[in-house]
């Protein structure tokens, strides 16, 4: 079912031509919305869920932003297809695990997805590569305003947008920025950073959200609070914290370079060597090595345009993607071989590491 989506090489997160940014991989914003009246998905029975699904799917497909989008009924997706969509951050695990009557609308460029009957009736998400809180907000705000013309949203002036869980009440807005923070992890500062930002109402999670660990030195950083501040205030506060984190990350990298240049070169060189010659590799190991290659791009050791390749490989090396590409159900061992084949092939067409670039930075 999802074939055209997966083979679309213009998809936002895996697009070759995309100009990716150092430190920040992507920006996502989601809005939680509910219809006034019908019970929230968890409380609703199947016929009520189906009713909401049809009503919303019709309205969403009529929106211009959804141009050439695809609708998927979760019940009709295979387990593997669901996993692939989760790995692309287009749907959540909660949507997959939910009861009958759940669906998702995904636009062609995979910058927008609307989950129906997840925890709330609607979970609208927009995403973009790089650090783009303002422009993503503009897009999702416009989409939401358009939707409101035809859908009666649950809203009160006092509490704002009403959500199934009070944690999302008010704006229903969660902005989540994916960050690559090898400097902070290697220098042992990450735990301190997490604790500090937690105090500011900001959450740090691994690549795949709740409960996932931070392989590949990739973290999702998002606002925790949704009520009592306007959207602009939430985004500004989060943006300021993220800018500080970027500064700390860059400092940590340069400090590492200054104090332990040989070790840094060695780690990057080894990662490159392994990826060029590997024959069996787990997704965890692949992620951690790719992280060092992304760092190499940031340091100028590889051309700038290869950063998007690394970001694409981070997604394509996930278990679901490897299995999907193999076009058959393959065992984990065979997956590790298929993953290695792909990495070897791609890395053999990359230029050699320009180690001398590092001396220029000093």
């Amino acid at each position: 079912m999802i074939e055209s989506l997966i083979n679309n090489d213009r998809a936002e997160l895996i697009q070759k031509a995309k100009k990716a940014a150092p430190v920040v991989l992507s920006t996502r914003i989601r809005l939680a919305r509910n219809l006034a009246g019908p019970p929230f998905p968890e409380r609703a029975d199947v016929s009520q869920r189906r009713d909401v699904l049809t009503r919303c799917a019709d309205q969403i497909s009529a929106l211009p932003q959804m141009d050439k989008g695809s609708f998927f009924d979760v019940a009709e997706l295979s387990a593997l297809e669901k996993q692939v969509l989760v790995e692309r951050h287009l749907i959540s695990r909660e949507l997959c695990d939910g009861e009958e009557g759940a669906g998702v609308y995904i636009n062609k460029g995979q910058t927008c997805s609307v989950m129906i009957n997840e925890e709330d009736h609607l979970r609208i998400q927009f995403l973009k590569t790089g650090f783009n809180l303002k422009s993503v907000w503009k897009q999702i705000d416009a989409f939401d305003s358009e939707l409101e013309k035809t859908i009666d949203v649950a809203f009160t002036p006092e509490f704002g947008y009403l959500t199934a869980c009070p944690t999302n009440l008010g704006t229903g807005l969660r902005a989540s920025v994916m960050m690559h923070l090898p400097g902070l992890v290697i220098s042992g500062q990450m735990e301190r950073v997490i604790r500090a930002v937690n105090q500011l109402g900001i959450t740090v999670r691994g690549l795949f959200g709740e409960g996932s660990d931070a392989t590949g030195h990739i973290f999702q950083i998002s606002n925790q609070q949704t009520l009592g501040e306007s959207e602009a205030e939430i985004l500004e506060r989060l943006g300021n914290v993220l800018k500080t984190i970027i500064d700390h990350e860059l400092n940590a990298r340069f400090k590492y370079l200054e104090e332990d240049k040989a070790k840094l070169l060695d780690q990057v060189g080894r990662a490159y060597g392994v990826l060029k010659n590997v024959h069996v590799i787990s997704s965890n190991e692949a992620m951690n090595l790719l992280s060092l290659i992304r760092l190499a791009v940031d340091f100028g050791m590889l051309p700038e345009e290869n950063r998007a390749d690394v970001d694409r490989l981070v997604i394509e090396c996930q278990p679901g993607h490897v299995q999907y590409a193999a076009q058959e159900g393959i065992e984990p061992e065979a997956r590790d071989i298929a993953r290695a084949d792909k990495l070897r092939e791609e890395f053999n067409s990359l230029p050699a590491l320009a180690f001398d670039k590092l001396s220029e930075l000093e």
Binding site: R43, E148, F159, G160
Partner: protein, 169 residues
């Protein structure tokens, strides 16, 4: 990072790790995201580990007055158990229960963000329309035809205005 500690409340994987000094003793607690949220760990001022260590999880439901949402059937015990609301009406029914939770977890308790103006005006005109139609039916039943004519004109005006809004460019 990847220590795989378990949440000390529900045993899920812990993602929030806290250390605080309470009465000169170092206390460490590991929580999963949802328990951390429930405990208000993310609130910079309101949170104290001492509270968390001493408090029983939630007020026992048995001594509490049980309210039921007329729209979706959720009751007070459901809210205590799941921490979630059942439908948009629930916020009115369980307001007194939700409020302290909001104080604990958010930057404020009043919405300061976007207002869906179009949806709101449509909803209020729907409500107005409903009450006008009720009045119309009543005045017809009471044979108050002058009043009925007035109500009918008002209904017509609202419906026409709506049609203008809905019919697209």
């Amino acid at each position: 990072m990847a220590e795989n500690l378990k949440c000390s409340i529900c045993n899920k994987e812990a993602t929030v790790h806290l250390t605080q000094i309470v009465n000169n003793k170092i206390h460490k607690v590991d929580l999963c995201e949802s328990c951390a949220q429930k405990k208000g760990v993310t609130d910079p001022e309101g949170f104290s580990l001492a509270d968390l260590l001493s408090k029983t999880p939630l007020t026992p439901a048995s001594v509490e007055e049980q309210k039921v949402c007329p729209s979706c059937g959720q009751n007070t015990a459901d809210f205590r158990r799941t921490g979630r609301l059942g439908c948009s009406e629930c916020y009115e029914v369980f307001k007194a229960l939700v409020f302290p939770v909001l104080e604990e977890m958010h930057a404020g308790t009043a919405h300061k963000g976007k207002v869906p103006k179009i949806a709101m005006s449509r909803q209020s005109s729907k409500l107005r329309l409903k009450s006008l139609k009720d009045s119309l039916a009543r005045s017809i039943a009471e044979e108050a035809y002058e009043d009925a004519a007035q109500f009918r004109d008002q209904i017509k005006a609202i419906e026409e205005a709506e049609e203008l809004e809905v019919s697209p460019k």
